[in-house]
Amino acid sequence: MFNMEKRDKKLLIIIAVLALLAPFALNPFPTDSAMAQFNAGYPDLMQRFVIFGIFAIGFNILFGLTGYLSFGHAAFLGVGSYSAVWMFKLLSMNVVPAIFLSVIVAGLFSLVVGYISLRRSGIYFSILTLALAEMSFRLAYSVLTPITNGETGLQVYTNDPQILMGPDSPTVTHLFGLEMRSSYTLDIAGWSFDFAVGYYLSAIIMVAAFYLSIRIFRSPFGLMLRAVKSNQQRMNYTGLNTRPYALAAFVISGMYAGLAGGLLASMDPLAGAERMQWTASGEVVLMTILGGAGTLIGPIVGAGFIKYFENIFSKINNSVLHEWFGFLPDGLENGVIWVLEHFVGSGWHLTLGLLFMLIVTFLPGGLVEGGQRIAKRLRRKGADDDDAPGNKTPAE
């Protein structure tokens, strides 16, 4: 099936099962228990996991395979969001044309940006993408206000044309009548699980996007991109023009970003320019590196990790900390809380920055490499020093 290697098939199936069962897997604690704040199984957060997962998978096709570090990918996400909201304004609230248009527009835009930026490589490429993305961010805020609605952000108003809108079509985003925000809640003995339409649509698209990225990684095209990363000069000396390959990778990853932007807008029909700022581009770089650039699963792990901890850490405040450490003697309690309060709540970015520095320094392969090292050590302990050759190939 699917014409894939066994290993990749296993990976795809694991991802698909995880994505389908996420409402259960992410809600391990009963609703009323003290641990309920670590639950992540609500639709809003799960949607962000998979949507940013798509964004990071796409970014990884460019950065992980070719080594070109783009600092402007958020621009494509923003353009995707804008075009999706325009589809809602002009046609109807159906998400299908919105997502299609966002992918196409982001693809065209990334074709232009990529054509310009890929004339240089290394840090110059990073600066060029940064400059072009920052330019589009600034323009979206100022001159392009008729298209982007400036600081207010683009949203759907009741007096918009919406030419495909029938008298009884839903006024919220929907997939042929199935409303994105509708969900089914299953209550089992203290647990409550939400199954939202929006999440499942995003999850199915993410699994499809993941499948496509596996195919790209294993294709001759993917091999060519890796060759660009390892030694571009040698490729050029063999008489091969590498730029079309890099440009194709750039456009594909731009389309992934547009898809993520379109989905974001489909879940919540709003688009703002701050989605295009360079710090937003920095975030997807963080996700990819944190998870493991150049690996298949890494970007999804990184996106999930960052979004999960962003949500959970920023919810912990001083009173929660006092509750946790109430058993300590007063002086010690205050000391511990004084240290910890730097890292939680609004200080979550500090934790992220530190974590990121540690990972770049000690684990250049990201969390995936960390997992592999641990697995290897465990396996070696189990089978003593019987180092099977299969252990040495990194499981991508």
């Binding site: 330019m135 609004s346 992220l352 320094t361």
Partner: protein, 343 residues
């Protein structure tokens, strides 16, 4: 003519800040070969040095003045800074007034120390790593520094006024023979420009006319040979990193009255100063300074109403447009040296 002159002057202060930050970035890149994304954070730390000094100096005790009452009828609480009670109200108040210039003295040792710790503690381990790794780890460091400042100083900008003597503006037009009130320019911005010119001159003189500077320049040209001659070049490069940090910090201290310091000012300037460095040419010190002033002036030119009417929105993006054109047309930037980061 006077409008153009006014725009050139307006571009000077931003241009000076760009030039100082870009100078530091280029010093670090030229000596250590490290792309430092945390340099904007150093600029921000400098600005917060000014805030801290101002707070320390105006540290006060509270007395209750029975003769006056506040709007609720209670006796009024009067805050008296310690400095005023120690040195008398007049001298005390004027010391507080001059807190920003005083912060310069305070900032230099702090920034040298911060730079030294940064280089020995983190950057040292990244010499041999690819540029992408250097960018990423210093980007992480920048986030950490920024969040620490946000934690202790809050998210709002903190007004840090210049000394009373430098407030107000100065009629530049009369001096140049134009009509009065044609070119009015805030005094502090002129001070900022003069200050940055002095710093830039000092850095160049240090590199040009001292033995230490000569060794550093030799090391920039050929690190290995200098090392083979028995000179500990690493130690000197570490000191240069400290100096680059101090230059960024000084730029920040003096910039505090122009723009109230906030925790993300470093990130705002970082992107632009990278663009400046690249336009000037990686590794070229005069290029960084020239590009800084050039882009500052261009930015303020394009915010003229006549230009904006011609090309709407150009003031927002002019720097990026120039950067893109230069990067594509002149691979080495304006004054880049041959063989440095050329691909």
């Amino acid at each position: 003519m006077d409008a153009i002159l006014l725009q050139i002057l307006n571009g000077l202060d931003k241009g000076s800040a760009y030039a100082l930050i870009a100078l530091g970035l280029t010093l670090i890149f030229g000596t250590l070969g490290v792309v430092n994304f945390a340099h904007g954070a150093l600029f921000m730390i400098g600005a917060f040095c000014a805030v801290t000094v101002q707070r320390l100096l105006s540290f006060s005790f509270v007395t209750i003045d029975e003769t006056k009452t506040d709007f609720l009828g209670n006796p009024m609480k009067v805050k008296t800074p310690y400095l005023e009670s120690w040195f008398g109200p007049e001298l005390g108040a004027s010391i507080i007034d001059w807190s920003v210039p005083i912060a310069i003295l305070f900032c230099i040792p702090i920034m040298l120390l911060v730079g030294y710790i940064m280089e020995r503690g983190l950057i040292k381990h990244f010499y041999k790593r690819p540029h992408a790794d250097q960018i990423l780890v210093t980007f992480g460091l920048a986030i950490v520094l920024q969040e620490l400042i946000k934690h202790y100083y809050g998210a709002n900008p903190i007004p840090t006024p210049a000394p009373e003597a430098f407030k107000g503006s100065f009629d530049f037009g009369v001096l140049m023979g134009f009509d009065p009130n044609a070119i009015i320019y805030p005094v502090w911005r002129l001070v900022y420009f003069g200050f940055s010119a002095v710093i830039i001159a000092a850095v160049f003189a240090f590199l040009q006319f001292t033995t230490f500077g000569m060794v550093v320049r030799a090391g920039m040209a050929d690190r290995e040979t200098v090392g083979l001659l028995g000179i500990n070049i690493d130690k000197r490069f570490t000191i240069m990193f400290g100096i680059a940090a101090a230059v960024a910090g000084l730029a920040g201290v003096m910039y505090a009255p122009i723009n109230s310091p906030n925790y993300h000012m470093g990130m705002d300037f970082l992107v632009l100063s990278f663009v400046v460095v690249v336009v000037g040419g990686m590794g070229s010190l005069p290029g960084a300074v020239l590009a800084g002033f050039l882009l500052g002036a261009l930015e303020s030119f394009s915010s003229m109403n006549e230009v904006k009417a011609l090309l709407p929105g150009i003031d927002q993006i002019i720097i990026y447009v120039v950067a893109i054109v230069i990067l594509l047309a002149r691979p080495r930037g304006l004054m880049g040296r041959k063989g440095v980061m050329e691909e």
